[in-house]
């Protein structure tokens, strides 16, 4: 668990980076500068930051279609990220992946992923590697409430539980999978249970639900699960209840939820809440917060400029990287 002043401020900083980065992406997507689909992480910052801050260097994460926050929380380079989202040659994936596939493999990020639920078996495999290569690395697997209805969820967690794989399955329950509510009282719902963490029972592993807008709570739960995994205790399932401030993707008219609901959740904004705590505990004052925010804004602005000024990929790049190292 994070306790020192520096650690706590770092949590805030990491969340702010995501907030500012995503806000920028939102703006420039609206202006038509970014192709394809963009799924923003706004409102869910506490989950990625609380979880990733529990890891050490040679650990791994798997991410999702809503992956910018995970990559940023894991220390992703803002410039390469923004450039990738813009589809530029200087991006992490040379412009070949874009928002949905953005990754820094050297940071142990095993891909964002456009296939909902695809990360869970990949995370299990990363856990197998730890056993095969006799390493103590742990893998955090992020996935959504919607993903928890896919067969991959079942098969991957079952496999992880059978072999005590060092994986922490972190469910970001933001209450919707596109337009589908996770739980309701009628037939239109993703699943017939209120807490995704109840599913841990099916695998004989521990499952908990935490407030996903409370970065400390997320961190505490994940730290414990990581410790358990690292010492051979096997996987855990942690559900973080949170909310996405924006539509499913940019452009989503969000007909499936009410403005009041959005407002109610914005009042629980993970950053505002954490700032208040830091201020109450006199760890941060108005001035310090402003400074931090400006500094972060500056970095994001720089990243934006880098992306905008970067060259497009060369058309000949279309057929490179189909095979690793080049040759067929």
């Amino acid at each position: 668990m994070k306790e020192s002043k520096e650690e706590l401020v770092k949590l805030l900083e990491d969340m702010l980076v995501i907030r500012e980065f995503e806000t920028k992406v939102q703006k420039h997507f609206a202006e038509g500068e970014i192709p394809g689909f963009v799924h923003l992480y706004l409102g869910e910052e506490a989950v990625a930051v609380g979880a990733c801050s529990a890891l050490k260097e040679d650990d791994f994460i798997t991410s999702t279609h809503r992956g910018h926050g995970h990559l940023l929380a894991r220390g992703g380079d803002l410039k390469k990220m923004m450039a990738e989202i813009f589809g530029k040659a200087t991006g992490y994936n040379k412009g070949k992946g874009g928002s949905m596939h953005i990754a820094d493999v050297s940071l142990g990020i095993l891909g964002a992923n456009g296939i909902v639920g695809a990360g869970l078996p990949i995370a299990a495999g990363s856990g197998i590697s730890a056993q095969i290569l006799d390493k103590d690395s742990v893998t955090i697997c992020f996935f959504g409430d919607g993903a928890s209805n896919r067969g991959t969820f079942h098969e991957a967690i079952n496999m992880a539980s059978v072999w005590d794989l060092p994986v922490v399955f972190v469910c970001e329950n933001n209450l919707y999978g596109i337009s589908m509510p996770q739980y309701t009282n009628d037939h239109r719902k993703g699943q017939n249970i209120q807490d995704v963490s109840d599913r841990a029972v099916a695998y004989g592993i521990s499952g908990v639900t935490v407030d996903g807008n409370d970065v400390m709570a997320v961190n505490e739960a994940v730290v414990e699960a990581v410790k358990k995994a690292r010492s051979g205790g096997g996987p855990s399932l942690i559900e973080c209840k949170t909310y996405r401030h924006r539509g499913h993707f940019e452009g989503d008219p969000t007909v499936y939820r009410s403005d009041e609901e959005v407002e109610r959740w914005k009042e629980k904004d993970p950053i505002d809440r954490f700032v208040k705590i830091l201020k109450d505990q006199e760890i941060l004052d108005d001035e310090g917060y402003k400074e931090l925010r400006n500094e972060v804004k500056g970095r994001v602005e720089e990243a934006l400029q880098f992306a905008q000024e970067s060259p497009e990929p060369d058309p000949s790049e279309v057929t490179t990287d189909v095979y690793y190292g080049g040759a067929e």
């Binding site: 192709p35 589809g87 596939h101 596109i178 699943q191 279309v318 057929t319």
Partner: protein, 324 residues
């Protein structure tokens, strides 16, 4: 005739069949209040209710597996899978259940289901949301495979698909959804399977293409006509069954065949078409059969790369000229 977009034509086909036959229902992710990821189902849930327009969890395997079970027990499901790139998820249900059930049971089981799926690239959706996967399904006996290139065919073929007593893979090209065309008003307008359409007559060379490539090919043919080159353009409309007679007749006339497809080339349906002609029409050919396809690579994200990846009318013009 009325003007409808490809998406509207599809919706109208479903609505008419649902009005007529209460055993027809729709299921898929976000097909209800959201209206479908590409807006195809639109307001159908308001018209037919949640029981017949079923929003599912994210569960492609169960969507197709349950469609098989529903079809075997008297319903006529129309299942939507959000992107053709996701078809790997329910592949076993398509391959081992839907396609084989009739044969395995010695003809006992009837599986009348339609699997609607948006296909193809061009919207910057990158490697997992832009694929063309129809070739896999042409290699699965027991399926029919349909791919309309315009609004009228979209409506007529979808109605035929819904009425068919077999599993039908129904591919729709994303870029076409907003293309508007003339659609017959007659409620009984249907397009039969296995009948190609000669979209443009010509004498110098035959182009065969499906989906969006029909438009590209017609555009290329137009340009070539200005230079005095006469190209025949054929749209098979259904890949299985495939109207090889129309194609062979055309190749007999022109002596040259160009196959245009956004599929990655190796193992594509373009290859199958080539093989059919090399087997049954070889002596008509004055030139090698050319395939203008996407390269053997996943679909890249950047717009520059995606445009380089996709065959376009200019590529077709160039290929035709090389063959003359």
């Amino acid at each position: 005739m009325k003007k409808l977009s490809y998406a509207e034509a599809l919706r109208e086909a479903m609505a008419e069949e649902m009005e007529k036959d209460s055993s027809v229902f729709i299921m898929g992710e976000d097909v209800g209040i959201f209206g479908g990821c590409f807006g195809v189902t639109g307001d159908l849930v308001e018209r037919f209710g949640q029981d017949r327009v079923r929003d599912t969890p994210i569960t492609e395997t169960a969507i197709i597996g349950s469609a098989v079970g529903a079809a075997m027990t008297g319903s006529r499901p129309i299942a939507e899978i959000m992107f053709a790139g996701f078809l790997g998820v329910p592949m076993d249900e398509i391959f081992n259940q839907a396609a084989k059930m009739c044969y395995m049971t010695g003809g006992q089981a009837k599986v009348p289901m339609v699997l609607r799926v948006p296909n193809g690239a061009g919207i910057g959706a990158a490697a997992q949301h832009s694929e063309r996967t129809e070739a896999w399904f042409t290699h699965i006996p027991g399926l029919k495979v349909v791919y309309p290139s315009n609004a009228a065919d979209a409506k007529g073929l979808l109605k035929t698909a819904i009425r068919d007593d077999n599993p039908v893979m129904f591919f729709e090209h994303k870029i076409l959804y907003n293309h508007v065309g003339d659609v017959p008003e007659d409620e009984d307008y249907v397009v039969p399977f296995g009948v190609a359409e000669v979209k443009r007559e010509g004498s110098d060379l035959t182009i065969i293409a499906t989906g969006i490539e029909v438009s590209h090919s017609l555009e290329a043919a137009e340009k070539l006509a200005e230079e005095g080159i006469s190209v025949e353009v054929i749209d098979p409309r259904t890949l299985v069954p495939f109207d090889k007679e129309t194609l062979l007749k055309s190749v007999e006339k022109t002596g040259k065949l160009l196959i245009v497809s956004e599929e990655t080339k190796r193992g594509s349906f373009a290859s199958e078409i080539s093989a059919v002609v090399a087997e049954e029409g070889l002596f008509y050919l004055e030139q090698p059969i050319k395939r203008v396809c996407a390269p053997d690579a996943p679909v890249p994200f950047s717009s520059v790369l995606e445009q380089a990846y996709l065959p376009n009318p200019d590529d077709i013009v160039t290929a035709v000229k090389e063959m003359l």
